[in-house]
Symmetry: D2
Subunit: 269 residues, 4 copies
């Protein structure tokens, strides 16, 4: 259902790979709420994905970009402004990948080239997006920039490996850049710390099904799913949340502040 919450707003959405992707759902909901936007993904990810269906469905152009390449980002952001007819109001960064995880390296046996590559893709790319946008003066005042994060930035989930450190770095960027973008242009920057979600990215993590189940039982409202996350992103892109900035926002059914639940404790009796 549309409330025209994003009517007239322009944006860029990174990371829509397929229907499971949170970014995909955000695109659908943002479209429904009246936004126009450009979709983007890494060229290699696009070959695997069905992003063109989404583009068609939402009347969007796709501009491929490697989010670790400043040059690609310049092309993307300039292209988006041209395509959409003006500066942007929102950006969604939904990108993450650990080479150590993919290659099966334990956290205590990292390959540091892999570590650096994963950090660049998962976290530093967020800085690159914002630095490029700022240099191109691509954001309207009171614009809203979001990245998706996970509570592993605060607490250890052993299989999450070096993505935990990447998310900590990502959230720090949100604060640091949020300060400067706020001072300079009234742009707000936040991360959403989302429940574990059964996406293509998530499903690559070892023991993910057990983990989803644990998380479900540790959340008074249950795990938040991708649709609910997309709703929350819409709220954060809308004008209802203009003074929320530099925050990491838990969207997790209460997981983050639950120490234990009755259902979990019963497994220990």
């Amino acid at each position: 259902m549309s409330n025209n919450l994003l009517k007239g707003k322009r944006g860029i959405i990174f990371g829509a790979l397929n229907e499971q992707s949170i970014a995909w759902k955000v695109a659908e909901k943002a479209h429904e709420q009246g936004a126009t936007f450009v979709l983007t993904n890494a060229p290699i990810a696009m070959r695997m994905g069905e992003i063109n269906d989404l583009a068609e469905k939402t009347g969007s152009k796709v501009i491929p970009a490697d989010a670790t390449s400043v040059e690609d980002l310049e092309t993307l952001i300039s292209g988006a402004m041209e395509e959409l007819g003006g500066p942007l109001d929102f950006i969604l960064h939904s990108i993450g990948m650990s080479v150590n995880v993919r290659k099966g390296r334990h956290y205590t046996d990292e390959n540091y080239d892999f570590t650096m590559k994963g950090l660049d893709v998962s976290a530093l790319s967020f800085h690159k997006v914002m630095q490029t946008a700022m240099k191109l003066d691509a954001m309207n005042e009171w614009g809203s920039i979001l990245a998706l994060s996970y509570i592993a930035a605060q607490r250890v989930f052993p299989d999450y490996n070096d993505m935990a450190d990447n998310k900590a770095y990502l959230e720090s960027i949100a604060r640091s850049f949020g300060y400067h973008y706020g001072e300079k242009k009234k742009v707000r920057v936040n991360t959403i710390s989302q429940s574990p979600t059964m996406t293509t990215a998530g499903s690559g993590v070892k023991g993910f099904n057990e983990f989803i189940s644990f998380s479900e039982k540790m959340s008074p409202l249950g795990n938040a799913d991708g649709d609910a996350c997309a709703d929350y992103c819409v709220a954060m892109f809308s004008d209802l949340t203009k003074y929320v900035t530099m925050q990491n926002l838990y969207h997790d059914g209460g997981f983050s502040n639950t120490g234990v639940t009755q259902e979990v404790i019963e497994k220990f009796s």
Copy 2:
């Protein structure tokens, strides 16, 4: 501008004293967004306030209640359901008062009867509201309950006195009751940690003007005002934020994660 975000939702709003009150602005915006609600305040506060103007403007009934009295709360909540034609979808708790502050007692010279009275009004009342609502089964599934808080719950602002401890207790209630209300009825409970706001309540605090100014300069987006806070409350009452619960949400222009700003540091050179 209405987006019909709260269309069909019913609620109770505590604490609208006059046009400066955040609760007043929430009432106006909730009405605009299609909600119906009952207004309430302590009988003594109502004599000072202009709540009837607000009631007329928003087509609402006023039911006076002392929020520290379980009996009054039962009457209020039952009356609200009857008046509105069914169970509730949202509650706003915007109540706070420190007798020690009013009587000019320093934090290191508390009168403990005053302390207990202030705690009862400012914090325990929130528990009483929810316990009463739960016993009356007065909330619909996925309802949203909010209380207004302040960052003094985390960090010391000396003139805030024992209200800091009250807010810490209030936020703990949000987590504790949020757990149980989530498990039982999918109701979410959160606090919004708002910028200092020039309301009747705020203006009673010693050195408040200087403090507002400090806070303004320490916030990359500036202090969030009451209107913006009301917008945020609307977002938190809407279906866009269904999986956010047991959280303390900073609505403060970035104050909470800013260590220092250029403007502030210059005062030290």
Copy 3:
């Protein structure tokens, strides 16, 4: 083994009931490290306890005091200074009790007289101790005041009931009073957030054994026991930690920053 870490230091230790008590162990270790101190407990608790054995063993005087009574606290603190021959260097507050828990009242069915009584005993008493000490100018510069807390102040453990809110209030007092005591007299104030410990107090909580077991498996180093906690208190009373103040210090084998462990996740496969 003694390192004379507390040589020449004087203090008051609240809450030593029997050999299981953390306060009991702190008394033993503080004595070993060269401190002199007065022991105290509520008159009613003392009848049940074996505090006189501890007094004899550590060469300490016992001065009974109801920690909710400012009058009793004046007598205690004045008496301690007289007995020990000068102002104090440390205080341990290890007191907590929820009437709602004792009477079997669920968190959503609180008796608010019980709530207030539990808050007074478990949290407000900490303020009373410090306010009384400050008025009597009973602390030496760089003195150290500690209270024992639990992570339920941050996250929900449903059976912990209203003690969670009490601990949140207690920790807020540590910050608020720590500010003023630091400014005025260089006294530091902290709380230690301890692993669940099988004391007389702990054993009254429903499902405590299961909870201890869950906590053990969620802590990379295992639960911290009472002896280790006493060691930590000694460190916090010593001159090695003079600039740590207004903090809540987790002493929990890593529980607080562990999202899940391999052992726990296996219960969900």
Copy 4:
């Protein structure tokens, strides 16, 4: 004064450049408390420093190592065990450097090669040290590993630049590796978040004097100096703190939990 707190303990201390360095003071105090250790620094830093004086004074060997080189770290750690006659009980990581800061690049105009280099030196080196130590089984059970951090990991101090993100990554490593080292070998890993300190490293930051002054006035006990920090490190290396792990410990005179002080607010009247 010695309390023999570290008697018989062996360690490695990174980062003693000159008498201002915190690592220098830790070496002095650890020596005084009965520890033996190896000193290390980057070859280039050693040319500028006076580390040999410290080595002589504390009876220590110096083994140069580039902390970003796993090969160098292997040589260092193996060499230290051989020199000291067995596995280690403690490690201090006191290393940090931002190329962007040195080159005068603003946070919104980062050179990403500089960013990566600074991250490697300031944060990833901590992982490399621990991964190497674990592979060589170089730590005794209940050993203690510390890195020095700063509150910019949580809040924005604009001139701190990308060191904020580095410190966030560093603290995440402490949690992540602390989990694994705890599970495997009962080794604890923590960071100390220290007041700004007038060291050679600190003095390179723009506006540092003003910042020291602001921080002093925002800390109820004043800024913690390097000597006090060294005392705290001794406490954290001792057996008094065996169950503290995966924590970021504020050693800052109360700065972290102070929202404002009377002295600061007066600048805004």
